[in-house]
């Protein structure tokens, strides 16, 4: 019977009468799968609910679009990947085995067209012989144009689910935590470790990715301390929950292990709810710093490959068992159990008791183990020394071919077909060594288990229980208690002697290495279900010399799916080892990388986007800027108005107005964003002499000077005006961009290079609000604003300063000019910034004052030929900028030694020049300077523009730029070209200062 037929009405036909301690039968839940409405119970996963409804076919595979069902029961699941939710909440590739059922959950199968049952993509599978591993490398070998066309079609076939349709509406959060001991995994071993360390008083975090603690104890009937395993788990949980020093976390995956004790965890807070509570995050991303850690992550059962072993109805034996024990679901009606170890016999008893018909137990081992003999005695059909060679059926299993095999899986006789709808397979277990490996722990190979286990030598963290190769329940508990106590002791705590409960678990025998059973020629035996990697692909990789496990992985994509090969990696490399004729450990493993299981990007983002993630710095006058039409831009994290928009004016008209206000009356601009450093100490002047190219020790108190700093390699680094407030006290300004790096640089020099200098540098950018008023009327305005201050040219000359109240606020007034006009920079305590700003605006009316933004400021400085980082682009020297005069020959300073290096004095360097456009022409942004007026010509650039503006003052477009031998080019007519914008202008090369080159206006 196929699930799809049965599912139209809810019958939960495969739910047993009694078993299932993990579900609450009194709480039915209705949910959707494709076009069907189904029912399950509270406590179900989507997988258990689908199985309960007899639904087996749940998806199509990645490459061949083969029908696929549910294979496992936890995060190891390679097959049953569903799309959960819809629209913006649609989440592709969700494991049905992990997703908990909730009311009105909507699940859909993926990777098929037009429907799950009839998928045209499966044609690829039929033609599968044409698509071996590496097939793309051998075909479509073409020029890139044709490949682009092929690729478009190929891409459509890949990719599994659909990405969400829109922005995620849910919220996410971050959390940080510290603990003494982090325990990953809450099975018996993890719980025991927590009990031991918790009792000793250690700060413990125990995290398990399942909704309930207990691990395998929930999935198979075992006994601990005389009671059922799951009941013991509940006892242990209560005991731990009562300890204030222990934090128990379920639905929480330990995802990554990083340097210095950092672990990441992802907590799924709301994925089990229909919709997250609007105040709660859907998922929370944890960063945990732990002093010690224990990995009690259990072991993952592994399959044995046979022909068509990917058919819906082929499942891991432990999963079949778990569905019964925890969810009361029988995954089939008639089963063939196929195993190489004794766990199959315990399982067979439970399954038979629940009503499953067992057609046969196929045991690969020759002879009968004790458990096998007992099962046989109970009347079960045990075929020892046999293997399943093939599954029969297309969209689901309806039989198993069984044949005698040898120890290497080669068939040794004819196969017979046993009817069944379920093949439960157990090829042994692989310890979940992922976290150990992530922590750089090495691996050891245990022949008896045919598995890699953590090598404790040199390992930074302990592993315990099945993760450590201890499969026996009693051993798991003992190891758990031991590592928990050891961790506590190592932290200097006293762990009381553990009371290790008696345990009755499954018999664990050795699981001999058997990875695949010989298949008929042409048949496919899947190793990696998700990426459709077969035993033949591994053979092909070997044949073509992709024999390193890393090449094998990349050539076949083995282990590169969303399950990262949890059920397939070891088998894949074992098969390669066999081909190479080498032992498995000699072949080695591929590298385990975070995360343990994939988690959403948004969990890691944790809502830290927009302004939360990238804070905006605002000046004290910010609200005024916004209220008055300020069009904002980002400047090194600060929000600054570019210009103030006015109804009826274009931005350029508005900028022109602002520029002309400064040139003809007075303007005010918020310059709070400039970096400001307070520099004090007896050696402050000496220090500045060593930092700037020019001298500061001879600067008079109460005066300022413009300075340029170089990098040690001689290139221009930063510039600004520094005022001398007292003999031993300076106020330095830096560019907005470099304010924090200049501070670090100065501290470096003081702390590391010249520790003998007695200087304190303190960043004070945040303390000061600064407004610059500039223009011919600036002095008159300042006189109105600061009646107590003598603002005459004699008392307050260019580069002078004064202190006093401005608009009623105590202020430092620096007279300096970026615009080339009379200008004053007024600095006040930022709490009073808005008061000052409003005061200036109020007083400015009669003087024709306008506020201006960064665009007008830029235009004004271009007119004056002042450079910024656009010109000093990190490759430029003082000489390139024409500033050799500022470089003192008589003193030592940072960068000076490099000035004589050959490249810095080489002929033909680019030099700063001005460009002025022909009447009516407009210099494009980012232009190249060339001799030919042709946007399409290939030609040598003579230089480029660095900043350009329309100068309302001059009525022309102007630009600054860098040009080879620029200073010798003045007067040359060239072209400013922007091919990408399709714009050009005829320009003349001129000296870089366009306006008042003598500087009379600013001194006036």
């Amino acid at each position: 019977m196929t699930g799809q037929d049965a599912g139209t009405t809810n019958r939960q036909v495969w739910r047993t009468e009694s078993a299932g301690h993990g579900i609450d039968r009194s709480q039915p839940i209705s949910f959707g799968f494709n076009q069907f409405r189904l029912e399950g119970y509270q406590g179900d996963t989507v997988a258990s609910a689908l199985l309960a409804n007899g639904v087996r076919l749940v998806g199509r595979s990645f490459k061949y679009h083969r029908p696929r069902g549910i294979f496992g029961i936890g995060s190891e699941e390679p097959n049953a990947l569903l799309q959960i939710g819809s629209g913006a909440r649609r989440e592709p590739n969700t494991r049905a085995t992990v997703q908990e059922l909730h009311q009105d959950l909507v699940a859909g199968s993926q990777n098929h067209w037009p429907s799950l049952k009839f998928d045209l993509g499966a044609m690829v599978g039929l033609a599968g012989a044409l698509f071996p591993a590496g097939f793309y490398y051998k075909t479509f070998i073409a020029n890139p144009k044709r490949w682009l066309w092929y690729e478009k079609h190929i891409r459509r076939m890949a990719g599994l689910g659909e990405p969400p349709a829109d922005t995620d509406p849910d919220d996410y959060a971050h959390a940080n935590a510290h603990c003494d001991l982090l325990i990953a995994g809450g099975g018996p071993a993890g719980l025991a470790a927590a009990l031991a360390a918790g009792a000793a008083g250690a700060r413990v975090i125990l995290a398990d990715e399942n909704p309930a603690l207990g691990g395998q104890l929930l999935l198979a009937p075992q006994r601990v301390g005389g009671i059922a395993g799951h009941a013991w788990v509940e006892q242990a949980r209560e005991q731990l929950a009562a300890l204030p020093n222990v934090r128990l976390m379920t639905r929480t995956t330990v995802a990554g292990v990083y340097d210095h004790g950092l672990f990441t965890m992802v907590e799924r807070c709301a994925d089990h709810q229909s919709e997250p509570d609007p105040h709660q995050p859907r998922q929370r991303f944890w960063r945990v710093r732990a002093r010690k850690a224990v990995f009690a992550t259990g072991a993952i059962e592994r399959p044995i490959a046979f022909a068509n072993n990917d058919r819906p109805g082929v499942m891991l034996l432990s999963a079949v068992r778990g569905y019964l024990e925890r969810f009361g679901v029988l995954a089939g009606r008639t089963a063939v159990l196929f195993a190489n170890n004794d766990s199959v016999y315990a399982a067979s008893r439970e399954l038979v008791a629940a009503g499953l018909r067992i057609e046969a137990i196929v045991d690969t081992r020759p002879g009968l183990s004790e458990a096998a003999a007992a099962a046989k005695a109970d009347g079960l059909y045990v075929l020892s020394g046999h293997g399943v060679t093939a599954a029969r059926g297309l969209r689901e299993v309806h039989g198993a071919d069984v044949a005698p095999i040898d120890a290497d899986g080669r068939t040794r006789g004819a196969a017979k077909t046993l009817p069944c709808d379920l093949i439960a397979v157990s090829g042994g277990w692989n310890p979940a060594v992922h976290l150990h490996a992530q922590s750089r722990g090495r691996m050891a190979f245990r022949e008896d288990l045919a598995a890699f286990v953590p090598d404790a030598n040199g390992a930074p963290y302990a592993s315990a229980g099945a993760a450590n190769g201890a499969y026996d329940l009693a051993a798991c508990l003992a190891e758990g208690f031991a590592v928990g106590a050891a961790a506590a002791n190592a932290l200097g705590l006293d762990a009381p002697p553990p009371a290790i409960p008696a345990a009755v678990g499954d018999p664990v025998g050795a699981a001999p290495a058997l990875w695949s059973v010989q298949a008929p020629k042409g048949a496919r035996c899947f190793v990696d279900f998700q990426n459709d990697v077969t035993t033949k692909d591994i053979g092909l990789a070997h044949r073509e010399n992709y024999v390193s496990v890393e090449h094998l992985k990349r050539y076949t994509t083995l282990g590169m799916g969303t399950d990262q090969g949890k059920t397939s990696n070891v088998a894949g490399l074992a098969l390669m080892a066999a081909k190479r004729g080498e032992a498995i450990p000699a072949v080695g493993t591929t590298t385990f990388r975070p995360p343990y299981t994939p988690f959403t990007f948004n969990a890691m983002v944790g809502g830290q986007t927009g302004e939360i993630g990238h804070p905006i710095r605002r000046t004290a006058a910010h609200d005024w800027h916004v209220a008055n039409g300020g069009v904002l831009t980002d400047a090194a994290g600060w929000s600054r108005p570019m210009y103030y928009a006015t109804e009826g004016l274009t931005p350029q008209q508005r900028i022109d107005e602002e520029v002309l206000a400064v040139r003809n009356a007075v303007g005010v601009v918020d310059v709070s964003t400039l970096g400001k450093l307070d520099i004090q100490g007896p050696d402050a002047a000496k220090f500045l002499d060593r930092v700037y190219t020019n001298r500061f020790s001879n600067l008079k108190v109460g005066r300022g000077r413009y300075g340029v700093m170089l990098r040690e390699d001689g290139r221009v680094y930063d510039d600004g005006v520094t005022m001398r407030l007292a003999d031993d006290h300076f106020h330095m300004t830096t560019t907005t961009n470099h304010s924090s790096s200049v501070f670090q640089h100065l501290e470096y020099l003081l702390q590391v290079v010249w520790p003998d200098l007695r200087v304190f540098v303190t960043p004070v950018t945040e303390q000061w609000f600064a407004a610059a008023i500039s223009g011919p009327n600036a002095r008159a305005l300042l006189a109105d604003l600061a009646p107590e201050v003598d603002v005459s040219n004699a008392a307050l000359p260019m580069m002078g300063m004064a202190e006093g109240r401005v608009a009623g606020v105590p202020a430092r007034i620096f007279r300096l000019s970026f615009s080339g006009e009379i200008a004053y920079e007024i600095n006040v305590d930022a709490d009073y910034g808005l008061a000052l700003w409003n005061g200036i605006l109020t007083a400015g009316g009669p003087h024709g004052l306008k506020a201006y933004g960064t665009e007008a400021m830029g235009t004004l400085r271009i007119e004056k030929g002042h450079f910024t980082h656009a010109e000093a682009d990190g490759r430029i020297t003082m000489d390139d900028l024409g500033l050799t005069g500022m470089v003192s020959a008589a003193k030592e300073f940072i960068g000076r030694r490099s000035l004589g290096l050959p490249d810095l004095v080489a002929p033909g360097r680019k030099q700063l020049v001005g460009f002025i456009a022909a009447e009516g022409e407009r210099i494009p942004v980012g232009a190249q300077i060339a001799a030919l007026d042709d946007l399409d010509a290939v030609q040598d650039a003579l230089g480029h523009t660095t900043s350009q503006a329309y100068s309302a003052t001059l009525g022309r477009h102007i630009a600054l730029g860098l040009m080879k031998n620029g200073r010798a080019m003045h007067g040359r007519k060239v072209f400013a070209l922007s091919p990408v914008l399709g714009q050009r202008a005829a320009v003349e090369v001129v000296p870089p200062c366009f306006f008042d080159p003598e500087g009379g206006r600013q001194r006036g």
Partner: protein
């Protein structure tokens, strides 16, 4: 059976259950001596060997690889190929490399899946727009393709992109190189290996070079010590990326290189919804979707010297926060795997391709994050330099000596701070 790959060869082989495919490359025992050795079996080393054999007739040569070929940065990069450089030396070199890419699959008879799906650079402030336009204009003057994209263009090219002005760094515009794109990283190593092997080159894996032997009189190289014994050769090319300092030091050469960590990560695979490669200066990340469907992301260096090849958190947290802002639909996709590579960061951010101050010793290294796109060009130039004992004009500027004159090829103007490039 012919060694050539094609759909017909594939069909023929399907009939024999693919049991007759030959090795893509041999794994011979090292000979005691060769005419030249290439140290490093990444894309660059393999390409150098291929071009030496194919274009310069030097077939008695070997590539020595410490581990498995392509397992270094070649196997761990975000696969972006472009030639949108500002400075002369770089622009011409990378454009040459891009042209080699355009013929590579056919030349190698191996589909390296070079997909010219367009590389887009978004701009988020007017200043950034200006600087980017300037760079792309410089490309056009050199005859390299470059185009300006408005926000409307972007909406058409990348419907998943958030073009709202209501985000922290709204997009102003973008510039693009249409011929830029991606290639399948592993295939590049394997294709060059197969190509070189078929011309007689020995590719020797699991062979770590532990010493470089020099003639005591002339100082010239005479061979190497390896974990598989000594091998003689009068010419040795180093192409070991993050290990350049170690290998050069074996010949007593110090380099202006530091090794830093660069990370990348992928999401689970989903159906295609990203069409191009998008990179952004403001938020420092780049994103594309592979042909298998994973969203592939990378960002900035971790910022301190490292050989760990191991991912960390801070830098990828930044990348993913910025990327989900630009492409909100990726937020609900899952983070599947992260890894890192050891980047050979130079003091100016540009590579060193040429002769070292030891006769017979050559190198191609210092690739910073940009070396995948350089693979064919680097191999081609290194091969030329080894064969002729002098650089080709394309790599004449990328000398080690430039650091003696301070002739920096510094695209970013970041100064002698490797982590800043």
């Amino acid at each position: 059976m012919s060694r050539r790959y094609s759909i017909w060869a594939l069909a023929r082989n399907a009939l024999s259950h693919h049991e007759n495919w030959p090795k893509a490359w041999r794994s011979p025992e090292p000979k005691p001596a060769y005419d030249a050795l290439i140290i490093g079996g990444g894309g660059h080393g393999l390409a150098a060997a291929y071009y030496l054999a194919k274009l310069h007739g030097m077939t008695n040569i070997a590539v020595l690889e410490r581990g498995w070929i392509g397992g270094g940065n070649t196997g761990r990069n975000t696969t972006i190929v472009r030639s949108n450089y500002l400075l002369d030396e770089n622009a011409h070199f990378y454009e040459h490399s891009l042209k080699l890419w355009e013929g590579l699959s056919e030349d190698l008879n191996y589909n390296v899946m070079f997909s010219q799906r367009k590389v887009i650079n978004t701009c988020h402030t007017l200043g950034e727009r200006e600087a980017t336009v300037r760079r792309y204009n410089s490309m056009r003057l050199r005859g390299i393709d470059a185009e300006f994209l408005t926000r409307e263009d972007l909406a058409r090219l990348e419907p998943a992109m958030n073009l709202s002005q209501d985000v922290r760094y709204p997009i102003v515009c973008a510039l693009a190189q249409p011929r830029g794109g991606t290639a399948r990283h592993d295939a590049v190593a394997w294709g060059f290996a197969r190509g070189a092997d078929s011309l007689g080159v020995d590719i020797i894996q699991n062979c770590e070079v532990t010493g470089i032997d020099r003639d005591p009189v002339s100082g010239a190289v005479i061979g190497v010590q390896t974990t598989r014994g000594a091998i003689k050769a009068p010419k040795i090319g180093i192409a070991v990326a993050g290990h350049s300092s170690q290998v050069a030091a074996m010949a007593g050469v110090r380099l202006p290189i530091e090794s830093h960590l660069l990370q990348a990560f992928v999401s689970e695979p989903v159906k295609p919804f990203l069409n191009t490669v998008v990179s952004t200066g403001a938020a420092h990340f780049y994103i594309s979707q592979t042909d298998k469907g994973e969203v592939l992301l990378g960002g900035e260096l971790d910022g301190y010297n490292s050989y760990s090849q191991r991912g960390s958190l801070p830098s990828i947290e930044h990348v993913i926060a910025s990327a989900t802002e630009m492409f909100p639909r990726i937020g609900r996709l899952r983070f599947m795997r992260q890894w890192a590579g050891v980047m050979d960061m130079t003091m100016d951010g540009s590579p060193i391709i040429g002769k070292l101050p030891v006769p017979g010793l050559y190198m191609s290294g210092g690739w910073c994050y940009g070396g995948f796109k350089a693979t064919p060009g680097s191999g081609w130039c290194l091969a030329w330099t080894i064969a002729k004992d002098e650089p080709h004009p394309l790599n004449a500027g990328h000398t080690l000596e430039r650091f003696r004159t301070s002739h920096m090829i510094d695209e970013k103007g970041a100064g002698p701070f490797p982590k800043a490039h």
